[in-house]
Symmetry: C2
Subunit: 531 residues, 2 copies
């Protein structure tokens, strides 16, 4: 645990509890706000270092079997403490590596700490494993044995930090919290755009692991600019699952690698989404001002770099929609433009906008702007043209929205049926409109993970009922959420025990219900003990 207290960054990898860096591939993070490189040399992990990290994680995973829920909970809470103690350092590096504001950093930090606390609370009992017990029945034909089911962790997990959420979906973010909570060992491949923030948070995790008696290797943090470290991690036989938040291209590359393994492993990738918003005309007439404000706010949130940013608006062509779009444009252009995460992301935003300008009319923020500041943009296209060109629904990551005006409800329904899978879908309409358009509701439901009525898609509430994960390509596995306590299910699997004596059963399956939780016993939920 050398160097952990140093104020300056080391640029090294946390290989278990040690800061190491024997490699010679150096990279730097970038401050997009001042358009210049940050100073710390980050050293990419070598092939040998990656192998050592995986072996440590494998050994740690085997030891995690003996570490109960309350002890893992104290580990998560110690991470919270460590991050709070490092708040200043987190703020400094976060802002200098992303161009995002201090306010945004604090909001995201609070969200991250809330997530860690939620999982700590969840695992105080074993209820999250959904224990199920069927007692032996010698009278049944054929006689049935004692069978009990619980969930166990998958094994060492590799998690890729997200560029757009350096805290909440990176080093100690939701994936890490879920994977550690369920007893896995975690290797984070730190995002190269915010490797400094990653190192600070990783030092809090390592400190917490030592303080709460976790085995070395339960957490590691590796630096890498290129693809090779990630590839080595994902293809290693001892790695049992992968979490990723990022682009469709990045996600599908990892999925391909994972599928080509001798033993394919699950990849939980959250990828692109344009989060379509269907605006129905009566509601627009009634509350035009309110919705033009809400939607322009939502487009601009986080410089349009949220996974739930509304990138596609479906409307019916009429006078109301024409007026609404004018209002939306006016409000959107009134915003000060803001800084994107990185010049590469800015360049991609510009490139994709240019591609759209071939088939769509673009309205952009005008005037002189600092480097890396995104000109918010609304693109326009007719329903007929949109329906013919499937590429128009692809994501332009940043403050960009494509407005499609359909001639008829049927055309609009066709637009919905052509949609790729989405994290969210939104309908804005009056009660009567919603009832009249139940087919819009049903068809959109089949395309999304979350259906929002009369709201905006940005702002993902961290709560048990949240489902953040839609059909492909918005996520790789629509059956699991990336947000909320149910995300703990991803890095676990059910296992059942047949005829296993009480002393060998895990706590939650023993005859005496020591956890005092609801268990499914012979098919019915019960808090009883027996035997």
């Amino acid at each position: 645990m050398k160097n952990m207290e140093k104020k300056v960054l080391s640029g090294k990898n946390y290989i278990g509890n040690s800061l190491e860096a024997t490699g010679d591939t150096i990279f730097h993070t970038f401050n997009p706000r001042i358009n210049n490189w940050n100073k710390t040399d980050f050293i990419e992990a070598t092939e040998l270092e990656v192998e050592k990290t995986i072996q440590l994680a494998h050994t740690a995973f085997q030891k995690m079997h003996k570490i109960g829920g309350p002890q893992r909970a104290s580990f998560l809470l110690a991470i919270v403490e460590g991050m709070e103690a490092r708040k200043k350092a987190i703020l400094v590096h976060y802002c200098s590596e992303t161009g995002l504001s201090e306010e945004r950093c604090l909001t995201e930090l609070n969200r991250t700490l809330f997530q860690l606390r939620s999982f700590a609370e969840l695992i105080l009992t074993e209820s999250w494993r959904n224990p199920s017990i069927d007692l032996a029945n010698p009278e049944a034909k054929p006689p049935s044995p004692d069978i009990r089911k619980t969930r166990i962790p998958l094994g060492p997990i590799v998690l890729f930090g997200a560029s757009n959420f350096p805290l909440a979906y990176s080093t100690a973010g939701g994936d890490t919290a879920a994977a550690l909570a369920s007893g896995n060992a975690v290797i984070v491949k730190s995002h190269p755009m915010h490797a400094g923030t990653g190192e600070v948070v990783a030092s809090a995790i390592i400190e917490a692991a030592i303080k709460t008696g976790m085995p070395e290797g339960v957490f590691s943090n590796l630096n890498a600019k290129g693809f090779e470290v990630g590839k080595q991690l994902v293809t290693h036989p001892l790695i049992k699952s992968v979490g990723f938040t990022g682009s469709i291209r990045g996600g599908t590359s990892l999925i391909k690698l994972a599928n080509q393994r001798k033993e394919p492993i699950p990849v939980f990738a959250e990828m692109g989404s344009v989060n379509p918003v269907v605006l129905l005309p009566k509601m627009l007439e009634e509350e035009m001002d309110k919705w033009s404000t809400h939607i322009s706010d939502s487009i601009m949130a986080g410089t349009g770099q949220f996974c739930t940013s509304p990138g596609l608006i479906f409307m019916l062509k009429n006078d109301t929609s024409t007026t609404f779009i004018q209002q939306l444009e006016t409000k959107l252009m009134d915003y000060e433009s803001s800084c994107m995460l990185h010049p590469n992301i800015y360049d991609q935003f510009e490139r994709l906008k240019n591609e759209r300008s071939i088939n769509c009319a673009l309205t952009e923020k005008e005037g002189a702007l600092p480097p890396n500041f995104a000109r918010q943009t609304i693109a326009h296209v007719s329903g007929a043209k949109y329906l013919q060109d499937h590429s128009l629904q692809e994501e332009v990551f940043g403050p960009f929205t494509l407005v499609v005006k359909f001639n008829t409800v049927n055309e609009l329904l066709q637009g919905i049926s052509q949609l790729n899978g989405q994290l969210t879908g939104t309908i804005i309409g009056t009660t009567e409109e919603l009832q009249e358009n139940s087919s819009v509701f049903l068809n959109l439901q089949n395309k999304v993970g979350r259906l929002v009525l009369n709201g905006v898609p940005t702002g993902v509430t961290v709560c048990p009922s949240m489902h953040h994960g839609g059909p492909f390509p918005s996520s790789s596995d629509s059956q699991f959420t990336a947000v909320g306590i149910d995300s703990i299910l991803r890095f676990t699997r059910p296992v059942c025990f047949q005829n296993v004596p009480d002393d060998l059963l895990p706590l939650e399956l023993k005859n005496i219900n020591r956890c005092k939780i609801q268990r499914r016993v012979n098919g019915l939920f019960s808090g009883d003990s027996f035997g």
Copy 2:
């Protein structure tokens, strides 16, 4: 619904409610017991017929939204009725197409009907959707909206019948029951080895669908001998998931096709497993006779053609194990040999046995046997040799077991750590032995879906706590079970509703708890209504 009442088979496809066959590819089923072809001409579905079937399934799926749980339950119970009414025809075709006994047919039929009844009971309430409600909290920072989560069906599902379970894992088997129960439309690609049994069962399903008001296309049954029909089904954009039970080769081909789609879809494939049995010495000393009987029974069950057949035995090398193996061999060779499902399966069994004979010593049943009757076989290999040759753990489908004698517990643990994923793992030992060898227990647990102590792996109890699905390659997705009511989760996914008014919410999420079920409300389970 023409021809449904005909006593003889039509050989045609059920495309929705119609028996159709415009194709010219004809095939026949085979009676392995008399070593001859059955008479019915089965006509493979054409490309146009497959397309028509998928379109019907897609339309039916959209209509299924309006059909509630109790109505779907009555559909499943009507299938039970229809199958009971066709018991004679099922018996005749089942036996003539598989070489299996009437007794086995009746056992499997009862299991199938039990499965259908279990799902019918399950969906009488909406509890299986795990409804979760977080009420709006305007006081929270930031204010949190009303968010409610449930599960919805995935869409039209393609299911492949299994060769070894013409009833329980085929036409109206567990996958079909689970998929229909959760509101999906189902297309069965009937297994060509028992296409007649498939047609009889399909006629019961179609009759039940009509009787209970299901939309046409909710179920179809297609004949095919080759791979093309399956390929067309799995790669079609309107198909949203696939279920398969069979070989690793077959399963991985389908997974590959599904992953190559523009929109990859989940394939729930149950593939090969050798179901290792670890025999510890003290227990063998104490109860040698009992375990040699149980294990030889388990090896011979269903002519070794069960997915949980014990194909691998791990022991420590000592006098007890030598005596035990002699006893096991004697008992196994005392069995009358029995008929395999098909000459192709018999030929494969012979071929794989021959391959094993290169590296292992084989003891086979001797004497003259009818065609397609499998000579039960025990193969022997030393621990050292086994650990060097990873191919020795591959499945020999049929009454075959490889016995490995390790010199030390450490060698045995290495054998476990080298195992591929398995449906089951079994340990036979005294209480003290199990406690002394907790590492055997923990290591085996990480390789299997079900851990059996002092029992045999065959005999998969259909109960809520059953988990039938282990790490790859035993199944493609270890997070889901293929047996028991929890298998309903496979063909569904969570969706959440934000700020959706009560009248647009599905039954299980409305304020009034009409189903009178436990729901997670603000994170705690409750039977309350509110609002």
